[in-house]
């Protein structure tokens, strides 16, 4: 039953979606509000239908309905309850359903929020949103049919990929897709602005919160992905420059550039063309990312033609890019700047440079990711560039960006005077330089680490200087210190939300720097009762234990860990044996700390428990990355609060 119901609902949704897209545009052209209202009803119906589909899929997973091929491929009778729900988006077909569902939710919110406030742009926004949903509905019915029937109906399913049995899998795809889909809204507004010729600030100010939220969710998705990689995959790192990661990182970089460049347009009426191009680029990169990771093209240039997904996404991407370029060409004369750049030493320049560097970083990530494809297509040789390439090229870019993070928010608009520079940057530069010297004297050898940490301190100092000065101004007016600070943050929530996000990035930068510079690892075979030492920890192997879980068997190693003179702690890394898998899956155990993480992976072992090979890592400062994520959340929340400044 479910395959037919689901497919039927998807087809009806597709028809309604196309109808709504056409009606909204027609209504706008002919000035018929009734047409637009009809499109709104279609959008509501599409939301209901896609919601029904996702509920049907969840129901199929919960009831082990193996007549749905997707269910049979991604679950079995032993899959625990929670993971049967997350298995809904555990593979390609289901992810597309989740993606589309989020798009329909966003469309609904757009209808509710903007149907009266953005009257002129709104019908076209609806057209673009519904067109994008149509594409995904087409994918779901034709290219990756999620409700395909399995014939004959198997007695049991194939089971979920064991690596996906993790709480990170509940949140990671959801956050990532909320980010990916979120950029559809500013993109739709940009296209609507081009169509109507209203390319001024209106579309930018209207979509500011949308952009921040999409950007935040993408960041959150990347962070949770890093956390998943760190505590599940067992190689001890959080970022591998893997194509899958890069696919999400590229739109985040251009999205970050967009967040900054819109401020220049709001303030100085510049960069109209650039902003529209950036948001189109960001949206295109979200599609490109899906194409890259889901089509098999990464494995070989020739692979993607084997499945329909690649061709679908590539065609749609081409359609999006070409249509956008045509619209830009059509509106070329109204996209010119009204303001001009006055001086190299100004806030505009700093923001412009920030944009150039962010886009450059996105380009290098793009280049490195598709390099194997280029070399295979051009020279017939597969050459890949790994993490060293990405690190080598991006580290200078990111360090420069950190420097600008300190300069940009404080430097004067138009033309900074020497007085302005001295007032804002003298102390931070002195403090940063002293910090660099102290770090060198403390024996930090890596130049990159010294520069990164000194820059962190420099930027923190600029933020402190700004806060101190502003609080002092308020205190002179008779307020007390803490209420003054609180009032400041709330009244200028956009500015200080941004500062807190900057602090979050700095905290993460410390985490990345520290883990790159000071982590240590070793691998060794221990006899029962034997101990070894790494980075101030003593680890003793105490034996093995076998057990049976609901859907897998498990061999657990027991290791007693002593740090310095502290009491012993027991870590239990294991190997899990899933019947549907050919070989075991490592289960990492770890102790997280503010400075050190101890991380154990059970490598190989003798069945009798006489000896075991263990990989040990002491990873430094990694927790700062996750703490940075929390601070990032706080800053984003503050930034999206309604502004109070105007009422004051």
């Amino acid at each position: 039953m479910i395959p037919e119901l689901g497919t039927g609902a998807l087809l009806v949704a597709l028809v309604l979606c196309l109808y709504g897209a056409v009606m909204a545009a027609l209504g706008a052209r002919r000035g018929r509000t009734a047409y637009v209202e009809s499109a709104q009803h279609a959008a509501l119906a599409v939301f209901v239908l896609v919601t029904t589909c996702i509920l049907l899929l969840i129901y199929a997973f919960l009831t082990f309905d193996f007549s749905v091929r997707y269910v049979a491929n991604n679950t079995n009778l032993g899959t625990p309850f929670y993971y049967r729900i997350t298995a809904v988006w555990g593979a390609l077909e289901g992810s597309i359903v989740l993606w589309s569902w989020m798009l329909t939710v966003y469309t609904l919110v757009v209808v509710l929020r903007h149907r009266t406030s953005a009257r002129e742009l709104y019908p076209y926004v609806l057209t673009v949103m519904l067109s994008v949903i149509s594409f995904f509905l087409l994918v779901m019915t034709v290219a990756a049919p999620v409700f395909a029937r399995s014939l004959p109906i198997p007695a049991d399913g194939r089971g979920l990929n064991p690596l996906l049995e993790d709480s990170g899998m509940i949140t990671h795809p959801v956050a990532l897709y909320l980010g990916f889909t979120g950029f559809t809204v500013p993109f739709a507004f940009a296209i609507a602005a081009l169509i109507t010729g209203r390319v001024g600030d209106f579309w930018i100010t209207t979509t500011r919160r949308w952009t921040i939220l999409a950007w935040y969710f993408l960041a959150l998705g990347l962070l949770i992905g890093g956390w998943w990689s760190y505590h599940v995959l067992g190689w001890g790192g959080y970022w591998a420059w893997d194509p899958v990661e890069n696919a999400a990182f590229m739109p985040w970089l251009t999205g970050t550039a967009f967040l900054h460049s819109v401020m220049i347009q709001e303030r100085r009426r510049m960069l109209r063309l650039w902003n529209i191009a950036l948001v189109i680029l960001t949206f295109s990169l979200t599609l490109f990312g899906t194409f890259l990771t889901r089509s098999g093209v990464i494995a070989s240039v020739h692979a993607f033609t084997q499945g329909a997904i690649g061709i679908f996404f590539l065609s749609f991407l081409a359609l999006v890019v070409l249509t956008s370029l045509a619209l830009i060409a059509w509106r070329w004369d109204v996209l010119g700047a009204q303001g001009t750049l006055d001086s190299v030493v100004s806030r505009e320049s700093a923001f412009l440079l920030n944009n150039v560097l962010l886009v450059a970083a996105a380009f290098t990530v793009f280049f490195g990711t598709v390099f194997p494809l280029i070399s295979e297509a051009v020279r017939g040789v597969k050459v890949s560039v790994g993490a060293p390439f990405f690190n080598q090229v991006n580290v200078p870019l990111f360090l420069s960006l950190m420097f600008l993070m300190g300069v940009g928010p404080l430097i004067a608009w138009r033309r900074a005077s020497l007085e302005n520079l001295k007032r804002n940057f003298l102390w931070p530069i002195v403090i940063g330089a002293v910090a660099a010297l102290v770090l060198r004297l403390l024996g930090v050898r890596s130049t990159v680490a010294v520069v990164a940490l000194a820059l962190t301190i420099f930027v923190t100092a600029t933020i402190a200087v700004d806060l101190l000065r502003a609080t002092r101004a308020r205190r002179l007016m008779g307020e007390r210190a803490l209420p003054a600070l609180g009032g400041l943050l709330l009244r200028h929530n956009r500015r200080y939300g941004g500062f807190i996000v900057h602090l979050a990035v700095l905290v993460m930068a410390v985490g990345v720097t520290g883990s790159q510079a000071w982590s240590v690892h070793t691998e060794t075979t221990l006899q029962k009762g034997e101990q070894t030492e790494l980075g101030g920890y003593t680890v003793r192997f105490d034996g093995l234990r076998e057990s049976q879980e609901s859907n897998h068997g498990k061999v657990t190693g027991s290791f007693t860990v002593v740090a310095g003179r502290g009491a012993g702690d027991v870590l239990e890394p294991a190997k899990k044996f899933y019947p549907q898998e050919q070989s075991p899956i490592a289960y990492v155990d770890y102790r997280l700390g503010f400075v050190d993480d101890l991380y154990l992976v059970l490598g190989d072992f003798a069945r009798d428990g006489s000896h075991a090979t263990v990989k040990m890592q002491v990873n430094r400062m990694v927790s700062w990355i996750w703490i940075g994520g929390l601070i990032l959340t706080l800053g984003t929340l503050l930034a999206v609060l309604p502004e109070q400044r105007k009422t004051a």
Binding site: P243, A299, K382, V393, Q582, S583, H611
Partner: protein, 144 residues
């Protein structure tokens, strides 16, 4: 002021181009099959060698952490040495990609082993090149 910005832009572009060029030349890793490697091995060059772990060739010495095996694509074989336990999904008769260098002493020194199981690959005795290409394709870029 315009020329200053133009000059700045050009400088940034050149710097970026140089960094990318330097990055590519220093970290390029060549993807080869055992046949391709044995045909023209260059000692010290970074390779990613993809093939099957030949049945019966895997030896693991827990005390010294020496892992040795032979990579095969049905036509040629390459002896591989590695320090450390094999990763999950690694085993005889299965596909693997190893990253490392040809030593010139007649063996491949692996610094990283990437193993991935795949429903697509054919039996280990397929000798046609097209088959091994299919195999390698399915093995590329696995998650560490």
């Amino acid at each position: 002021m315009k020329p200053k910005f133009l000059v700045g832009g050009v400088v940034i572009l050149i710097a970026l181009g140089y960094m990318i060029w330097a990055g590519v030349t220093q970290s390029a890793v060549y993807f080869v099959t055992p046949t391709e490697l044995t045909a023209a091995p260059v000692a010290g060059k970074a390779y990613r060698l993809g093939g099957l772990v030949a049945p019966g060739s895997l030896k693991w010495e827990p005390r010294t952490l020496d892992l040795t095996f032979t990579m095969s694509d049905g036509r040629a074989t390459v002896p591989v040495r590695h320090k450390g336990a094999a990763p999950d999904l690694f085993g005889e008769g299965r596909g693997a990609v190893v990253e490392g260098q040809w030593t010139g002493d007649g063996y491949f020194k692996a610094s990283l082993i990437m193993a991935k199981h795949s429903e697509e690959y054919k039996a280990p005795h397929d000798t046609k090149e097209s088959q091994s290409k299919v195999l390698i394709k399915t093995l590329e870029e696995p998650k560490r």
